[in-house]
């Protein structure tokens, strides 16, 4: 099953709010083990990986720091709660699991 991707868009170098978001996201993503991956993009610095289409769509307009789960914007200019992030990841994992079990 493909992984769920959590993407962070932060300032370069990170602001205090960006640091807070990174710390929170790293902790939550770790709970889900290998099923979830975290990518961090810094504004103005070339990306090492191809971002999701969802990220590419909002890249120029989104307010940093921002967090997306599988291309869907979860929060911008702030840090969502850990529970909000867990719920968003679980939802995406559920969708992927259903899709692949039906095939």
């Amino acid at each position: 099953m493909p992984k769920v991707r959590v993407e962070l868009f932060i300032a370069y170098p990170p602001t205090s709010l960006c640091e807070k978001l990174m710390k929170m996201a790293r902790g939550v993503v770790e709970e889900f083990g290998e099923n979830v991956e975290l990518q961090i993009y810094q504004r103005g610095i070339p990306y090492n990986v191809e971002p999701t289409r969802g990220f590419q769509r909002v890249r120029k307009t989104v307010k940093i720091p921002a967090i997306l789960v599988d291309g869907d914007l979860l929060a911008e200019r702030g840090v969502p709660s850990e529970d909000e992030l867990r719920a968003a990841i679980s939802k995406k994992l559920g969708e992927k699991s259903n899709y692949f079990s039906k095939r």
């Binding site: 170098p13 602001t15 103005g44 307010k63 940093i64 200019r77």
Partner: protein, 250 residues
């Protein structure tokens, strides 16, 4: 009336001025720095916008002349910086600026204030459609904006006594015709006098009062960190050879 700090920066390099703007912005977000209007003049430098069209720049000439290159946070074109330019930067929380004269945006208010200041010293200046000011169909001032959270940097440059021929040589593909304040007036202009006019117009347009201040120690520390991590790093500037010149001149 709201008060804002006024700073006269004396950066050795353009990168230092850009780092100072960002340090103030970051500390403003955390409530540690006041909203600030800065004026500065810098040494020779090519100041690239956030997404510059690099093909337009004559980098070999830059290297030959030892002109360093830096990249700013805001968008817009390439600026040839030198001591003949007067630069201003307004760093503030968006909500604390009252647009008193019916302006639709802060950018429009500030650009209009610059036009008024230029008219006050005797120029027939006009607002350009894409921002900035022109005199007799030639660009004399440009500006750009960058926002982080609820705060912004609005910075701009006025060509007072700039070497216009050098701009055309460094940016040979640019179609923008440029002029300077002194060229249009046909006389020498005092930078402080022009800055005073701008301060008065900004105060009127934004409904604030400016008070002369100094750069705080915490701001200086962050400036040094931003220079090291960002504005003097090849990772940010993405121009290797010219950037080395900036390092060597430090």
């Amino acid at each position: 009336m709201k008060r804002m700090r006024l700073l006269w920066l004396k950066p050795k390099r353009t990168a230092e001025a850009l780092a100072t703007e960002e340090a103030i912005l970051r500390l403003r977000l955390e409530g540690k720095s006041p909203s600030t209007l800065c004026f500065w003049r810098g040494e020779k430098c090519l100041n690239l916008g956030f997404n510059p069209v690099r093909e337009k720049v004559n980098f070999p000439l830059c290297e030959e002349l030892g002109i360093p290159v830096c990249r700013r946070q805001s968008g817009g074109g390439v600026i040839y910086q030198e001591s003949g330019n007067l630069n201003y930067s307004l760093i503030a929380k968006k909500g604390e600026l009252s647009l008193s004269n019916g302006f639709r945006s802060i950018g429009e208010a500030i650009d209009s204030a610059v036009v008024s200041a230029l008219r006050a010293i005797g120029l027939d200046a006009r607002l350009m459609a894409k921002g900035g000011a022109e005199v007799n169909g030639k660009k004399i001032s440009g500006s750009a904006q960058f926002m982080l959270w609820d705060s912004l940097i609005h910075h701009g440059v006025i060509a007072v006594d700039t070497n216009v021929e050098m701009i055309y040589e460094l940016l040979p593909l640019s179609k923008v015709k440029v002029t300077t304040v002194e060229r249009e007036l046909g006389r020498r202009v005092n930078f402080e006098e022009l800055a005073d006019k701008i301060i008065n117009e900004f105060a009127r347009a934004l409904g604030v009062e400016f008070c002369l201040g100094v750069v705080a120690d915490e701001e200086v520390s962050l400036v040094n960190e931003l220079l090291r991590l960002k504005y003097l790093s090849c990772e940010w500037t993405r121009v290797d050879k010219c950037q080395k010149l900036e390092w060597n001149s430090s």
